[in-house]
């Protein structure tokens, strides 16, 4: 199975080609859906097989590289289409294909009746293809191919309904924004690659990482590399300052938000940092930066999430904030914890989005939670799965969210400091709050929607994935039980990934032992926070809705600030976008190009014209004048002769 790993990449491509080329011919949605999700399913099985095969192998043989063919080989640059199987890539592959498969299935129902159904599945398959490239690549360039590929797919899928309005602007605006912001990140990533190549003379992971250990490279260089890479990561994973695109990305169909903007693509940044852990580990300052950015993003995104009313917006900001968590983990050197959270988050966030999707589906694309309410009795399955997911993300034991989140919190305290922990815990609290605000406004209470709407449970093809995900979200955490509970055989997930991070860990070497007591204490604390937050939310939005309104009134300024997402978009427009546009249009083009440069060109022609029009007057037509000129010439010539002797 392991050597067949490239099939997990190629199959989605095949699916894409089939659906893309013949899709418009095939009228039958069933077939299209079958092809679309089938290929993903198969890839998942292959990945699964590879995974178990890997488990069977001793640790030192677990890495394997499958090379297809050489891509670019110039000078001493040699990059190939080569895929590597190792613990990390397998975990990611499982997440992507698994969750991806479920979402494909879900989409069959969700996109039912859309006029370009085939296009949707083609794009989704293409996305999976790119994503697999990203995570299975054995070198930076191939990773970058996936990196940009997923960006493209997200562009295509956000703009899928290219003729629809979205908020103030259009879906295509959102799409463009996403792509361009990603590009800014990629710009950093590119520079990172160049610097790596310059430093290590290669772009293959193994060579680079081994040389990163053996070569003696200045911390500054490592710092730069790490910084550049991290810029890339912030773009892809929507961290400060490049997080602005993700909320707008909700313009796309909900399954897309679930797959791309929650479960998989946005975690690519995290994956990349984990993959290059050694480099980051060699640049502690940058690592600290990562941690800070992560923590801040987590916190602020959460604050914004509290006040949003669009169901998908809330989830979007929660995603940003969860991603912040993961980067916090990375920042404090808890790489495996981060990956662990990537996994659990993939489960419950995908679940949340799909649930939201099924709600939106039921409510005829009404997304304002203020217009929901009491859906519990209309759509029980959705309700139940959504509740599980909400509990999971709020970190209620023993759901998966609890383990991953708590591990991060713990490390942020253990390897980081209290400040991180406080931010993290606060975020956790807020998360619990707005999640349940969302949950309650949607499912509990009395219906607030008009009688024209007749909500109904979604078809099985949509609910089954929900249930599967719900199970995963519920029990998925058990593979990563912290050792204080699991005892001697430690944290499974940890041990599985450990070999990949050992170099990094050695570099960091921060296992200053804290007592179990602290760990347990913090754990209890966070749980208490979460529970209290949930209860508070329940109290506010179920018992006394007035409070919410009043507080909103009382802190009008703060409310507006949050409601408008700290005016970040507006700030960017004012500070960056418009100035560039203005200078380009009114100076560079209209002045510099048309006036100055062309002015010189045409001006010289003009001058010659004028000169000639005036000189021709010399030709007066009087013979004597001509003679005079001649004689003058002679005089001059003679003077020259006389003087030259």
């Amino acid at each position: 199975m392991r050597e067949l790993i490239y099939l997990t990449v190629l199959l989605p491509l095949v699916g894409f080609l089939i659906n893309g080329i013949f899709g418009s011919k095939i009228k039958n949605e069933k077939i299209i859906g079958l092809i679309g999700s089938g290929v993903i399913g198969i890839s998942f099985l292959i990945a699964l097989g590879a995974f178990f095969e890997t488990l069977g192998l001793p640790v030192d043989q677990r890495q394997k590289i499958v090379t297809l063919f050489s891509w670019m080989s110039v000078g001493n640059l040699d990059v190939s289409f080569a895929y590597q199987v190792d613990q990390l890539s397998l975990v990611m592959a499982l997440i992507v294909t698994g969750v991806g498969f479920l979402i494909h299935v879900y989409s069959i129902g969700y996109m039912h009746g859309d006029k370009s159904f085939w296009r949707f599945f083609a794009y989704l398959n293409l996305f999976i293809f790119a994503m697999m490239n990203l995570i299975l690549a054995d070198n930076f360039v191939l990773l970058f191919l996936g990196w940009e590929g997923v960006g493209l797919c997200s562009y295509l899928l956000i703009g899928f309904w290219y003729d629809r309005k979205f908020e103030k602007s259009t879906t295509s605006d959102a799409a463009k924004k996403a792509f361009i912001v990603n590009r800014i990140g990629d710009f950093g990533f590119l520079l990172g690659m160049f610097l790596i190549y310059m430093t290590f003379g290669s772009l293959n992971f193994n060579e680079v990482f081994s040389r990163a250990v053996t070569f003696n490279v200045s911390t500054a260089t490592f710092g730069f590399i790490a910084l550049f890479l991290f810029i890339g990561a912030t773009g892809k994973s929507a961290q400060i300052p490049l997080f602005v695109w993700l909320p707008d990305a909700m313009a796309g169909p909900t399954p897309v938000s679930a797959l791309i903007h929650a479960a998989t693509m946005v975690t690519a940044g995290v994956y990349m940092v984990a993959r290059t852990s050694i480099i980051f580990a060699s640049a502690p300052d940058i690592l600290m930066v990562v941690a800070i950015i992560g923590a801040l993003t987590a916190f602020f995104a959460a604050t914004i999430g509290i006040v949003q009313n669009d169901i998908k917006k809330v989830l979007a900001y929660s995603t940003v904030s969860q991603l912040g968590y993961m980067f916090l983990a990375m920042g404090v050197g808890a790489f495996s914890a981060g990956i662990f959270h990537v996994m659990t988050h993939a489960f419950f966030k995908a679940l949340l989005f799909l649930g939201a999707g099924s709600v939106i589906h039921a409510m005829h694309h009404e997304q304002d939670i203020q217009k929901y309410g009491g859906l519990k009795k209309y759509m029980p399955r959705t309700y139940l799965t959504f509740l599980i997911a909400a509990l999971a993300i709020s970190g209620i034991p023993p759901l998966s969210g609890f383990f991953s989140k708590d591990e991060i919190l713990w490390y942020s305290y253990a390897n980081g400091n209290l400040f991180f922990w406080i931010l993290g815990a606060g975020t956790a609290m807020m998360t619990a709050f707005y999640m349940f605000r969302l949950y309650i406004l949607t499912f509990e209470g009395t219906p607030r929607f008009g009688h024209d709407k007749h909500p109904h449970e979604s078809p099985a093809v949509m609910t089954i994935p929900l249930i599967v995900l719900a199970v995963l979200a519920a029990i998925g955490g058990f593979i990563g039980i912290p050792e204080i509970f699991s005892g001697e055989h430690g944290n499974q997930f940890h041990n599985f990934l450990a070999p990949l991070f050992k170099d990094a860990d050695r570099k960091l070497a921060t296992y200053n032992m804290h007592s179990h007591f602290e760990e347990i204490l913090l754990m209890v604390l966070s749980v208490v926070f979460a529970v209290s937050a949930i209860l508070f939310a329940r109290y506010v939005y179920l018992k006394k809705p007035s409070i919410a309104v009043n507080t909103a009134k009382k802190f009008k300024g703060l409310y507006n600030l949050l409601w408008n997402k700290y005016f970040v978009d507006e700030a960017y427009d004012a500070a960056v976008v418009n100035p560039i546009l203005q200078t380009s249009r009114s100076f560079l083009w209209k002045i510099a190009d048309n006036k100055i440069i062309d002015g010189v060109v045409n001006g010289s022609a003009k001058i010659i014209d004028v000169v000639s029009i005036n000189i021709r007057k010399l030709q007066t037509g009087v013979a004597q004048f001509y003679a005079l000129v001649m004689v003058l010439g002679i005089v001059a010539a003679f003077f020259w002769i006389i003087l030259s002797l």
Binding site: L628, I634, V635, I642
Partner: protein, 169 residues
Amino acid sequence: LEVILFFVFGIVAAITAVIMITRSNAVIAALYLVLNLASLAGLYLTLNAQFIAVTQVIVYAGAIMVLFLFVLMLLRPENEQKFLQANPKTKIFAMFVAFVVFAQLVYVIFFARPSQNISKDLAKSVEAGTIEAIGRELFTNYIVPFEAAGFLLLAATIGALVLAKKKFD
């Protein structure tokens, strides 16, 4: 004697020349030109160039100038106003320029001092000026120019014919 002759003829030539270009009446100017040419012939004689002197009188002072006078009579152009009356500025400037040329020539002549390497040898110069010498040269070495001159005159005749013919055929 030679000295006197030179000065007499020379001064006459110079003066007549000046008068020639300053007379407003064309006919008078022409007549002065004739005089000037004649005096040149005299100078040629002092230089022992008999043949040239004679031809000068016959061809130039005779033929050519007669032609001029004919034309003048024929066209009878109105007199110009007095020299230096019409737009004097340009004329003075022109005079000045021409004078500069003169000055330069003089400078050249004095700078070069041809007399240093040219000393007059009476016998030879007399010999050179004789009709025999010239004739011999003309019909032996200089036959080609001579023929050419013939064609030149032919062309001129035809041309004059074409240009001055009264009516076109």
